[in-house]
């Protein structure tokens, strides 16, 4: 398709702007939606950076109201969640309109063509510089800070960090059995829970867009709703579920219970990662499989999931990282033995120890990079024409 635009006389920039970007619209809309809601809901950044200088956001307001204000007003938090939910419903409906006629976004049609890189010409240096600047400011700089903090007794602009170098923080988190266990637990949840989670989320997406299930349109909304519910509320919800539903009590305080809560909370992420890719695959792909004799589920297994490999892997990476970091929904669900890195971090932070927290963060980053590198190598994600 990009070739057609080039032949029609569009330069590389115009091709990007008029053809490639519009084709990416489903993906852009989904990530936009998630980011938007996340920005409204995220707590840690406004709490740490905003509150001290008097910038009050929706989430930090809620936090003060519900948790700091003596008695914990879960009702109030829940009411606020309902507000976000209504808002989210409107946004999804708007998005459904913007994506009307999904067939427009089909690019995997079964008439195979070969992909080609788009040469940006002279502006490619500027584009690359811009990307690197962002990466540097938003990722590398904070990361350097965290790494430095994790290896020093304390970090201050008035002291040469090399003089206060220490491995104490790492000794603490690996030496203390509860802390070490939390690392292992988090890894297990991210590793296995992420894989199960992304498959489950892919299935939800495929039922929503590629089945004749009568309530499939409703599923589009339901799948995105968890995004509007603060993690703490999700945790409390699961706590009550485990307590009240007979037979589920055993899940309480186990990492399996935590995994369930995490998966539920991040269904919107998986949905957002997989559905744009689903739109790109022509329905004739599934129809062809059905006609030659495959049932719906076999079609999903043998044709659609393999075609969605790239997106599934991307979603898995996303879930892996999020599960490794997740703490909000774990606060009410963990106990001795089922600690996760997030809860450990909170505990250490409460004790005013930023060094070990940084060390844990470094462990998270290293685990993520290592595991994703290995997975990519082993799974050998290939790009088909």
């Amino acid at each position: 398709m990009e070739d057609a635009a080039r032949i029609a006389g569009a330069g590389p920039l115009r091709t990007l702007w008029r053809v490639t970007l519009p084709l990416l619209r489903p993906a852009l809309l989904y990530s936009g939606l998630l980011t938007f809601i996340a920005a409204a809901e995220v707590l840690s950044i406004p709490l740490v950076l905003g509150t001290p200088v008097g910038i009050e956001l929706f989430s930090s307001f809620l936090y003060k109201l519900g948790i700091v204000g003596g008695t914990t007003e879960y009702g109030m938090i829940a009411a606020a969640s309902v507000l976000v939910l209504v808002f989210l419903t409107l946004l999804i409906a708007l998005q459904e309109r913007l994506l009307g006629g999904r067939r427009r976004f089909v690019t995997v049609t079964g008439r195979a063509t070969r992909a080609r890189l788009l040469s940006l010409g002279r502006i490619r240096w500027a584009a690359a510089a811009w990307c690197w600047l962002y990466v540097f400011l938003a990722i590398i700089l904070p990361l350097v800070g965290i790494v430095a903090q994790s290896f020093t007794a304390f970090l201050s602009p008035f002291m040469n960090p090399l003089e206060v170098m220490t491995l104490d923080h790492y000794r603490l988190i690996f030496g203390h059995s509860a802390y070490a266990r939390s690392i292992l637990n988090s890894f297990l949840i991210a590793f296995a829970g992420g894989a199960v989670g992304i498959l489950f989320m892919a299935l939800v997406t495929l039922v929503a867009f590629r089945s004749d299930f009568p309530l499939r349109r409703l599923l589009i909304y339901v799948a995105l709703y968890p995004r509007a519910i603060p993690g703490i509320i999700v945790g409390i919800g699961f706590l009550w579920t485990f307590l009240l539903l007979p037979g589920l009590g055993a899940l309480r305080n186990t990492i399996l219970g935590l995994t369930l809560a995490f998966i539920t909370r991040y269904i919107p992420y998986g949905f957002g990662a997989v559905s744009p890719a689903v739109f790109r695959v022509s329905e004739e792909m599934d129809r062809a499989a059905r006609v030659v004799g495959a049932s719906w589920i076999t079609t999903i297994r043998k044709v659609l999931l393999p075609l969605l490999r790239e997106a599934l892997f991307g979603g898995y990476a996303l879930l892996f990282i999020t599960f490794l970091k997740e703490y909000a929904s774990a606060v009410f669900l963990f106990a001795r033995g089922s600690e996760v890195m997030g809860t450990t971090m909170i505990e250490l932070w409460r004790q005013g120890d930023s060094g070990p927290v940084s060390a844990l963060a470094v462990v998270q980053v290293v685990l993520t990079l290592l595991w994703l590198g290995i997975a990519r190598g082993v799974l050998g994600v290939k790009v088909y024409g």
Binding site: V108, T109, G110, R111, A112, T113, R114, S282, E284, M285, R287, A288, A289, R290, V291, V292, G293, A294, S295, T298, K302, V303, P306, L307, R309, Y384, G385
Partner: protein
Amino acid sequence: MAELVVEGLRKRFDGVLAVDGVSFTVRDGEMVTLLGPSGCGKSTTLNCIAGLEVPDEGVIKFGDRILTDTRRGIFLRPEARNVGMVFQSYALWPHMTVFENLAFGLRMRRVPQAEIRRRIEWILSLLQLEGFEHRYPHQLSGGQQQRIALARALVYEPSILLLDEPLSNLDAKLREQARFWLRELQQRLRITAIYVTHDQAEALALSDRVVVMNRGRIMAIGTPREIYELPPNPFVADFIGSCNFLHGHIETIGEANRITVKLEKGIPLQASALYRFSPGQPVIVAVRPQRIRIHTDGPKETNTLPGKVESGLYLGASFQYVLETPVGTLRVEATEPVQGEVTLYLPPEWCIVLPASDSGDEGGSPADAAT
């Protein structure tokens, strides 16, 4: 074996009647084409037969097996129908090699591995694609992809083959070749087939019978010759090949379907009729450009018209002229070049009288006739 019967098929999409009461039969081993302009409901009809679309109304039977019956609430899932289908986009699965694409349907039928190998070898040699087993679809040319798509639909020996514009993505030369071998293959395998196209030349060349559709309805069913030579209404006459239309009234009805029609300005014309007419009835006479003969200074017989050449096109095998006559503009195909004033002879057996009221559609005037 068995014949396919479609009865009273109706399908509505968001208020648009895509298929409106379609009924036809495909006999055992027959190749039937669904022909019609874009959006007339051909694909929808085919998808209903494949089970990919659930019709609002209608019955589809194959032999004594009922595939769909909306009254009785019967709907057989597509995977249980044992049909083969070739899609316009080919829909080859890009993550599988040619071998895996072909083996998929066989595996679904639990065919043993050795037999799978044998069958794939057989179909690939039949389609002259030996040695392509381990290629991926993107490593094949358009024509090869098209043949693999056909092989995938045939390899498990379906009871009926459905083709939705399978040749429309090929270039003109390749398409002509593909027509021949597709027809030859279908006859060799004696498989019952339904072929969807909007290309009338393809329909005439390929099929035993043609079903002409327009706006969700059937306009004509017949052999290619019947449809071409004795079109039952102006829409069909115009859609298949090109046609001149002359307006007039029935004057007298003679023997052996011979009718005299009074054209505009009182000019009489001998013509043939398929239907019963009564004197005075308004009619349209359809004459194909290839059937009109040009005399430069011939004797004045009956069924002649004076004409003046307005413009001409050289088509290679023939010349096509637009002539001004007392009854309007006519298009005529000739083997020799002509110019100036000529006499046109319209053979009565090729002047088909059609009812003027039952036009079925707007496609009446020669000016916008498709070529």
